[in-house]
Amino acid sequence: MLSIRDLKISFGKTQILSGIDLDLEKGECLALVGESGAGKTTLGLSIMGLARGSATGEISFQKKNLLALPEDELRQLRGREMAMVFQNVEDALDPVQRIADQIAEAITVHRCISAKNAGDMALRHLLSVGLNGEKARLYPHQLSGGEKQRVLIAMALVNDPDLLILDEPTASLDALTKADIIRLFRSAILGRICIVITHDISLAAALADKMAVLYAGRIVEMGRAESLIRDPHHPYTRGLIRSYPDMTTTKDLQGIPGRLVHGLSGCPFHGRCTQRIDICSRQIPKQRELDGRIIACHRGGIVPLLEISGLSHTFQANYVLRDVFLTLYEGETLALVGESGSGKSTLSKTIMGLHEPDRGQFILEGCSVIKRDAAFYSRVQMIFQNPKESVSHRMNVLDAVQEPLLVQRESSYEARLGRAKEVLDLVELPVDDDFLKRYPHQLSGGEVQRVAIARALALGPKLLIADEPTSALDPSVQAKILKLLMNLQEKMGLAMLFVTHDIALARKVSDRMAVMHKGRIVEEGATNEVLIHPRHPYTRRLVDCALGRYGMENAEIEMMVEPEPVVLEKYC
């Protein structure tokens, strides 16, 4: 019914929309999300024929190309066949006219109808959105925000349009009013084509069945709304969802580094993308269909960074790791939780090559890891529970931080010093000579751990394995170190394998969670879902203990039939 082909809108020299393709059937509701400036509203306005700037491409609606239609015909479609509810409820109604008259006007401009009949119709429509006749005689300033929004909805629906565009329809409403209005929208969008423009992910989830993520005038990802929110494939979508709080968000909010810039060559997101490759800045990624998702990314979305498959390890004829499959994606934090002795530390050390596994395979950035060479360690680094393990007491700060650079044969002292200062700055440590010359025993525990992190970051790794990195620290220092790790992740796109026994801690820092029990991964999934609906009895027990409920004995789990590990699909 509505199909948009290669729609481009430019305003002066800036291209606001660059090649939008979209198809919507009657009864479908699409949420257009993205940060401000992405071009969402412009897209809505251009369908209505109200966007300023010059447009090319095709918008076909009811078998007419709207872009080629003369203004008068377009006007007759506006308000009758397609209607739009604008953001900014406060100013969207004419302040000097009664609301009933404003609605009646929407009728009279499209049909030959007597003023009285139009007035009656307006009243009926106001009633249907929950405003009685007394309210109808009022002026906009006498209504509350929610009531104004109702008026605008009534106005949009009064001619029973086929296409309804809602632009940030709940932006200025309080939570309760918003809930009412969303209920109203739910019935209003039935049987129509509907486009909801919003940056409110929860609204998108509540109304839309399809969702398109717009970035710098392009659709970077599009798919079914709930799956897109649960399992974003495009790095930008993940960033957007990470920065949006909902009631089940457990991880602290993270931003996306940098800001939106229009007119970049190549992928519009490449300036802020942490997994960009060469081609990204040269070539615009084409929209492709992948697993029922339309995605525009040269790498097909967020890439797996480390894939572990079939890993087993025995120690004195006991399984320490049993058939472990685990995938870590670019830029995410995976918490590996389990009690001591569950094998989680062994797993992390095996990844680092400190143990040789009996069986299993590692694939790092698409290449099988055969040996742990310098190239491997420049991509994967580890920090330990006890920073003394990574920072030798015989080295001062500078030596400790530049040691990995030496190993990588970075010969010039200047370059090493520069890099060392850079990473020390990243971990928020001073870089003066006095500090650089200090030895670990002259530093506090938190500082040593920071030095250890700086040392791990010196080579710019993609994966950081953190084994209980804060359990030896004071709570307040621990909080600061965790904040630091999250910031580093946001800035550098670092993926983190966060090994801990502390579920409460894991909950705050991780996107996904894998639970280990007796050398097996018994459950894996999005952190909030694992914690809210733990499926494996062992996970349930861990969660219960973390909540202070001490029900089941360890032995009880032992006696239960060993259930199959619950490995859910990513983020599920």
Binding site: R75, A92, P95, V96, Q97, E105, V109, Q142
Partner: protein, 338 residues
């Protein structure tokens, strides 16, 4: 129920006729009357001198003087004087013009209608044309129509009223000789009915035109700029999305809203309008208050001067009051302020 509705009806009516600002008008009026009473009495010497001026007293007989002193209760206490003053005002007594040898109120009453006709019509016409041109111009900002109007009206508005008046007088009355030179009617023509009206209009045309031309610019520019801002407002977008044709958007949405600031500005402009009218009357020897004031000053007819000033202020105040009422009609946010 019935009673309640009636009650609220009166309340609304009352609110409509007597807005809160009425109070300030009454205070202003009171202040003006008090000044008018106090000033002559504070002047050194005999208040009669102050009120009537030396020349008048020379021409005055003892008998008249005695009568005046009695009338103003000048031989009594301030309190009685004030009572006498108020009583006089209530009876429309503004004193006696010795130059015209007539009651001041009578003299003013003879001139006031002409001024009201001139200034009132100028206001109405300039506002109407200014608003319409402003709406059209603001709606297509940047077009040649817009640019032309802005340039020419700003040019005209830059001149003082009387200059345009003199210019028109020279062109149409002196050079082309198609318009009367002065006055409000042709003397001794004895026109009646329609012919009289036409004669009045013919005399009115030039002074009126010069006033309109000068007033136009301000109203036009304000309307135009308001239009430009309003067209960017969300409610205009809503109107477009409804499918309103251009003319609806131009007049019933943007245009109607642009009346609000224009009305306020017009109200503030009224004193200027009146002074403009006074000058124009002198240029065209139009027999209104302006010419009268001119004569009164030349003859040092103090009671007349004072009376005129009083009447002019009262006129300005009432005009402002009317504008306030109009604004309330136009803006429901003021009418139904919470």
């Amino acid at each position: 129920m019935e009673q309640k509705r009636e009650h609220s009806f009166w309340k609304i009516l009352g609110k409509n006729l007597f807005p809160a600002s009425l109070q300030s008008y009454l205070i202003a009026l009171g202040a003006i009357f008090s000044l008018n009473f106090i000033l002559p009495r504070l002047m050194p010497g005999d208040p009669l001198h102050a009120i009537y001026g030396d020349e008048a007293l020379v021409a005055m007989t003892d008998e008249m003087e005695a009568q005046l002193i009695r009338q103003f209760s000048l031989d009594k206490s301030w309190w009685d004087q004030m009572l006498a003053y108020i009583m006089g005002l209530l009876q429309g007594d503004l004193g006696f013009s010795y130059y015209y040898r007539e009651q001041v109120s009578q003299v003013i009453l003879g001139a006031l209608p002409w001024t009201l006709l001139l200034a009132g019509l100028a206001l109405v016409i300039a506002t109407a044309i200014g608003i319409i041109l402003g709406i059209e111009s603001g709606f297509c900002r940047g077009s040649s129509l817009d640019r032309g109007l802005v340039a020419s009206l700003m040019f005209l508005g830059g001149f003082p009223d009387f200059f345009i008046g003199i210019l028109l007088l020279l062109i149409f009355a002196v050079s082309l000789d198609i318009m009367p030179l002065s006055g409000a009617t042709s003397p001794y023509a004895g026109y009646e009915g329609l012919a009289y009206m036409l004669d009045v209009l013919k005399h009115l045309a030039l002074p009126l035109a010069s006033m309109v031309l000068v007033q136009l610019g301000g109203i036009f520019l304000l309307t135009r700029n308001t239009m430009v801002t309003l067209l960017g407002e969300s409610f205009i977008l809503t109107a477009r999305a409804k499918g309103c044709p251009e003319s609806y958007i131009k007049y019933s949405h943007a245009g109607r809203n642009s009346l609000l600031p224009v009305t306020t500005a017009t109200g503030m402009h009224i004193p200027h309008l009146i002074t403009g009218a006074l000058f124009i009357e002198i240029v065209f020897s139009y027999p209104g208050i302006g010419s009268l004031l001119n004569t009164a000053i030349a003859a040092r007819d103090y009671p007349l001067i004072q009376g005129i000033l009083l009447i002019v202020t009262v006129t300005v105040l009432s005009a402002n009051y009317l504008v306030d009422l109009l604004y309330m009609r136009l803006d429901p946010r003021v009418r139904y302020a919470h």
